[in-house]
Symmetry: C2
């Protein structure tokens, strides 16, 4: 049997002898999976995450949740269950699986990542910050509710994230390590630092590609790196594998941001569910602004290939994550 | 040798035979310590906490902290190192010692509690929330910096709190349990719920003492309960002792709030470092408003006695915490 498989971005023949459990492959980089199969894996992971998120912030406020004012819970759910790619939790689950772990045990960490991501969107959208009124195709939290409720919904999601990790991750050492990784990624040396640096850069005219990457390394990269690392921690991965995952997360994070910037210039507002061309209007530094559109595309591709290379310690088990890195280049929302 | 010691609020003789290492005491409730000795213990604990806080949010941004924009670190330190009673971390350290634990190991948890408390003050002071311009005798964070910086400084402190607990608390099971206790106390079934409920109650005229206590049980009580519990967890206390500590924290928390309300009516603005009579101006529910001043004093005293009783499982080791509960009634700032 000979099938075409995608290696990196090239289609290569794969020789498979399934009856012997052996595969003869040409001397290539790594095998890939079909785009349709990847989409299926991502959808399954996303649905598992969304189902778990719905349990962690329940609709019926019983038991301990009876202490939560309904409007607060509603605002948290409004933003948390408002769709989105669920990239961070999906990466966390895939990392756990790639390390041979039980992704069920990674589900609390995965959900915590999405809670932290959602809180950051709620706070970033506030009038005092980016002042956005549309997010994922719907009014932002402070528009749908009010500013005080939005601040508290963000605070609540951030705090709940740590409760969920600490309470449900096994063993306790993995729970503590995950809390640390999440906090480092999200906090004042990670995501919060990035948002601050981003605000400080607005309107300044001394943009360089290094300064821009220094922002994104923290603003989006730090939490993406944590997503991969937490999946590895839950699966009991060794230091070398964890470092590979972190390097992958770093490269994928920057690539993702470049595509985001490109979509803001070239994207379809309907598909994106948010306004386009807002970055330049806000005087924000962007990749297309600094590197041009072809230069940005080339940089994203180089980073995706860097991400693929970083997964060497995982061997063939890294196939899904590798394919995902290359597929990110094609995303249109 | 016969000394007078304070038991509860009564002075009783204590017969001590120090040479034999024996003490003969009358059949009383529990012994107490001198107010001056208590003040010394509290000051020592406060200074240990402040020194550790200064290390956790360093002035020199080296190593991993070089990722933190100076203005963000400055805002975090401005609010964190701005004085205050450090009640929560001190209670945490005292609880650890009362359970026979090493309070050094409780120091990260103690500092985390102060970070969470400080973040809550920064966010509560925001224009969209309580809109306060004075805190601990100085401009509030958003006045000294700006709103966006204040929101991020709060987010940063909240996140850092969890990093500190997870990273420095030993063993990992205690770290995970402390993270959970802190998050439950601070999050959407605890402190954040209380702040939301407080905002919702503003200006409503159907105040009852039950509704008011339901707010404070979450807004201030939940984090105080967590403070005691975390100290007990670090010291490896059993469930019965932990429950005693939590009950103590509950009663002390409410008593503390009543005194706070009384100080807002009767207090000295210079000593307090904040405006007085602002609660009634904001249409906030208060104990004096519902119970009158003598009724509020009586309720605070009953709660302090409840707190003392809750420490029965600790025996004599609970003396400092017991004395502290009664002394809270006398505070003037």
């Amino acid at each position: 049997m000979v099938r075409l498989v995608r290696a990196g971005l090239r289609w290569l023949p794969r020789f498979s002898l399934p009856t012997l459990g052996l595969r003869l492959r040409p001397m290539t980089t790594h095998p890939s999976i079909e785009t349709s199969r990847l989409a299926e894996i991502l959808r399954d992971a996303r649905l598992r995450v969304e189902s778990a998120l719905g349990r962690f912030v329940p609709e019926s406020l019983n038991g301990a949740w009876s202490n939560c004012p309904p409007r607060l819970a509603e605002a948290m759910r409004y933003s948390l269950m408002g769709g989105g790619k669920r990239l961070r939790p999906v990466l966390c689950l895939l990392a756990a699986e790639a390390c041979g772990g039980d992704s069920e045990n990674a589900l609390p960490a995965a959900c915590a990542l999405e809670m932290v991501h959602t809180y950051s969107l709620i706070h970033d959208d506030l009038p005092a910050m980016d002042d956005d009124d549309l997010r994922r195709g719907r009014p932002t939290c402070h528009k749908a509710f009010d500013e005080a409720t939005a601040i508290l919904a963000g605070d609540g999601l951030l705090t709940l994230a740590f409760e969920v990790v600490a309470r449900y991750t096994q063993p306790a050492s993995a729970a503590a390590d995950c809390v640390r990784a999440l906090a480092e990624g999200a906090g004042p040396i990670g995501m919060v630092a990035g948002q601050m640096a981003d605000l400080e850069a607005e309107g300044r005219d001394d943009a360089t590609i290094e300064a821009l990457e220094a922002i994104h390394r923290r603003k989006t990269g730090a939490l993406l790196r944590a997503s991969l690392k937490m999946g590895g921690i839950v699966a009991g991965a060794n230091e070398r594998v964890l470092q590979g995952l972190v390097d992958y997360g770093h490269a994928v994070g920057l690539a993702f941001q470049i595509i985001d910037d490109l979509l803001d210039v070239e994207g379809d507002e309907t598909k994106l569910g948010k306004r386009v061309n807002k970055d330049s209007g806000l005087g924000k530094w962007t990749y297309p602004g600094l590197l041009g559109i072809p230069g940005s595309r080339a940089r994203a591709r180089a980073l995706a290939e860097e991400a693929v290379a970083a997964l060497a310690p995982l061997g063939e088990r890294g196939t899904t994550l590798r394919t995902l890195a290359m597929d990110l280049l094609e995303r249109d929302r």
